[in-house]
């Protein structure tokens, strides 16, 4: 039975059910406890599970993310919340040098059931230091899994899968999605954490996206459909690993590929997607792969400029039309 919920509520419910099921799960971060979490994901958990399992931390991202690594080595299941992805830059040593290297360089001796939840993306006029995307940096780290949920249902599934996984998983959450609504059916069998899903079907073009950009792409696809242009909208849901086969199947049908992302274009996530799919689908493509990305610019505070740095529904529509027409 599906309910309409906000994305934060789906995550909150996922946290609760995993904490109830396994007492080695604990969460830690700035204001996750008494305050209830900056985006309410941990709301109510402090009262229910106590301070050892829902721990408010000092402002020490490197220190408490590294603490999560140490705890995971001895079988705990820490869920570390870093208040925004921008602060995760202070924790990259723990994420890159520690969490992903310890299982490998010990010759496979240690589990690393560590989840790092990080809100991010371009929100509303938070300026250059609070509006970054770091998926490209994290994707370049072997051994790190990256989930990018765009719906409450996926947030529910993927957070639970991340907590149950013995591998380090980053959950990239978009700050503008926490209060977006969608249906949640807690009885549905979960889709694998890294499986891409086709949000809308069509033959004219394959549009690949992830996180909030998928919602914009879906809106664009609805409008394009009214003009007779039907496209596949693929929600990757995971940036590492990537479900290449779903992408290839779609391209084999549409022969056009457009990648839409909020990340800066230069060496962004889309660069990897474009490179791999060009290699693997070259003879299926009727036109060069195109990327429609964020500008290579720190995010300006000014609202008009900020809005112009990332793809919008209308800019996506234009990009689709250009690509479809170029192949004709």
């Amino acid at each position: 039975m599906a309910n309409e919920v906000m994305l934060w509520q789906a995550m909150n419910k996922a946290m609760d059910i995993e904490m109830a099921a396994d007492n080695s799960v604990f969460t830690m971060g700035e204001d996750v406890g008494l305050y209830g979490g900056s985006y309410r994901v941990t709301e109510g958990l402090y009262a229910k599970y106590g301070e050892w399992r829902v721990r408010d931390t000092p402002i020490s991202e490197g220190g408490f993310t590294g603490l999560g690594v140490g705890a995971a080595m001895v079988g705990m299941r820490p869920v570390i919340e870093i208040m925004t992805i921008n602060f995760a830059l202070l924790a990259l040593d723990a994420i890159i040098n520690m969490a992903t290297k310890i299982p490998f360089m010990s010759g496979g001796q240690f589990p690393m059931p560590l989840v790092i939840r990080v809100p991010g993306g371009v929100a509303k006029q938070l300026a250059a230091q609070h509006s970054q995307r770091l998926e490209h940096t994290l994707m370049n780290v072997p051994g790190l899994r990256i989930a990018v949920p765009s719906t409450p249902q996926d947030a529910w599934w993927q957070l639970r899968q991340a907590i149950q996984s013995n591998e380090p998983v980053i959950v990239l959450e978009h700050e503008l999605l926490y209060f977006s609504k969608g249906s949640l059916d807690t009885n549905l069998d979960p889709v694998p954490m890294h499986r891409a899903l086709i949000r809308k079907k069509g033959d004219a073009l394959t549009l690949i996206s992830y996180s909030r950009s998928v919602l914009l792409a879906q809106q664009a696809a609805e409008r394009l459909a009214q003009e007779g242009i039907d496209i596949d909208v693929i929600d990757l849901r995971s940036l590492s690993p990537i479900d290449w086969q779903s992408c290839i199947d779609s391209i084999s049908k549409t022969h056009h590929l457009l990648i839409v992302e909020e990340d800066c274009g230069f060496a962004g996530a889309g660069a990897e997607i474009a490179a791999t799919l060009s290699e693997r689908c070259f003879y299926e493509l009727d036109a060069p792969v195109q990327r429609h990305t964020g500008l290579d610019l720190p995010t300006p505070y000014n609202g008009t400029l900020e809005a112009a740095t990332i793809p919008t529904v209308s800019s996506i529509i234009n990009a689709v039309k250009q690509l479809v027409q170029s192949g004709e």
Partner: protein, 350 residues
């Protein structure tokens, strides 16, 4: 102190010295590559601290960790094989000198990035505290590591949440080539712990008995529930920072001072012409092994014959370790990938 503990510590110190000197030799022969950070001069720290620990305690160490691993009980052959990059090494040949691990012996790694041992230690300690176990975590770091952010972040959290961590600073007075007065305003490292209300003391790292006793009482306080403790152990490395470093930055005045303080006959009877000779090393520093062996001879706790037998046994152990390493095959690329994916379980990726 019990004679058996003293003998055991002396043997471990001799083994540590012989193992490291053999590693230096193997490096010059091309059998060990990469960075190789050796421990001669500092043996009393690892030996004293780890003999006072319980098998249930966790050890988190730095990239200068061969001796911590040896004293913890990882077979010397497994350590030497790791230095050789072989499959039977304690990290499967994938870690190397700086990354020795042994989950079974709770040896939680050697870390190559300065300042990483603190958060690993507080994390393990957080798990211990949550599970209400009587165990402790021993966190090693050098004097050069105390200016990293994680030092302050982790000491604060350990104290704030009363975590069972014993912080052990191996103060050898140098961060690679920068002497402590040039890298720290406050050079008495233990004083920094008071900012976090962590009980701390300075210990003479040339005296293994003093190190043992200080560790024993610090661990007792941790198990009584008084939270983290801090030891600054003053020591001196006889060699340069790594095999790539001849240590020539150390002033003659300092060398002379150490020489005047406690001239020694170093253990290195079979020292190598390629790397600091016995004379050169003895000119640099006082020696903690002599400190203990002289004490034991003086108190008639060990006979000269037994001491000779002990040295002979140690030499044989090191020789066997090298043979074990030489016989071990190299790891395969498949093994490297299975280490990367060791926690994936049965999941099949599409």
């Amino acid at each position: 102190m019990e004679r058996s503990i003293l003998k055991s510590m002396l043997k471990d110190m001799l083994l540590a010295r012989a193992f490291e000197e053999q590693a230096a030799y193997e490096y010059t022969q091309g059998n060990i590559a990469g960075f190789l950070h050796l421990y001669p001069g500092e043996e009393a720290v690892a030996v004293g601290v780890l003999h006072a620990a319980e098998p249930g305690d966790y050890i988190v160490s730095t990239y200068r960790e061969h001796v911590h691993a040896l004293v913890r009980g990882i077979p010397p052959g497994k350590i030497m094989a790791e230095l050789f990059g072989r499959k039977d090494g304690c990290s499967g040949g994938l870690g190397g000198s700086m990354h020795l691990f042994d989950q079974q012996r709770r040896f939680m790694g050697g870390y190559g990035i300065v300042g990483e041992t603190y958060p690993v230690s507080t994390g393990i300690a957080y798990a211990i505290a949550m599970r209400e176990l009587p165990e402790a975590v021993i966190c090693f770091f050098g004097d050069g590591a105390v200016n990293q952010g994680t030092f302050h972040e982790s000491l604060n959290m350990a104290a704030l949440w009363n975590l069972p961590v014993l912080f052990v600073c191996e103060n050898n007075r140098y961060q690679i080539g920068t002497e402590i007065h040039r890298h720290s305003k406050v050079t008495e490292v233990y004083k920094r712990a008071c900012a976090y209300k962590i009980p701390a003391e300075q210990v003479n790292g040339m005296d293994v008995i003093e190190v043992y006793k200080a560790t024993q009482s610090a661990l007792l306080r941790i198990r009584e529930g008084t939270g983290p403790q801090f030891l600054e152990i003053e020591t001196y490395r006889l060699r340069g920072h790594s095999m790539a470093d001849p240590g020539s930055y150390r002033p003659k005045v300092e060398v002379q001072a150490f020489k005047d303080e406690d001239p020694v006959t170093v253990m290195l009877q079979e020292s190598l012409p390629e790397y600091p000779s016995a004379e050169q090393i003895s000119a640099i520093g006082k020696d903690n092994i002599e400190h203990l062996s002289e004490h034991m001879h003086r108190e008639e706790l060990i006979s000269p014959e037994e001491f000779q037998r002990m040295k002979q046994q140690v030499a044989e152990t090191v020789e066997q370790a090298v043979q074990y390493a030489q016989k071990s095959p190299e790891p395969s690329m498949e093994e490297a990938f299975s280490a990367l994916n060791c926690n994936r379980g049965q999941e099949v990726l599409i």
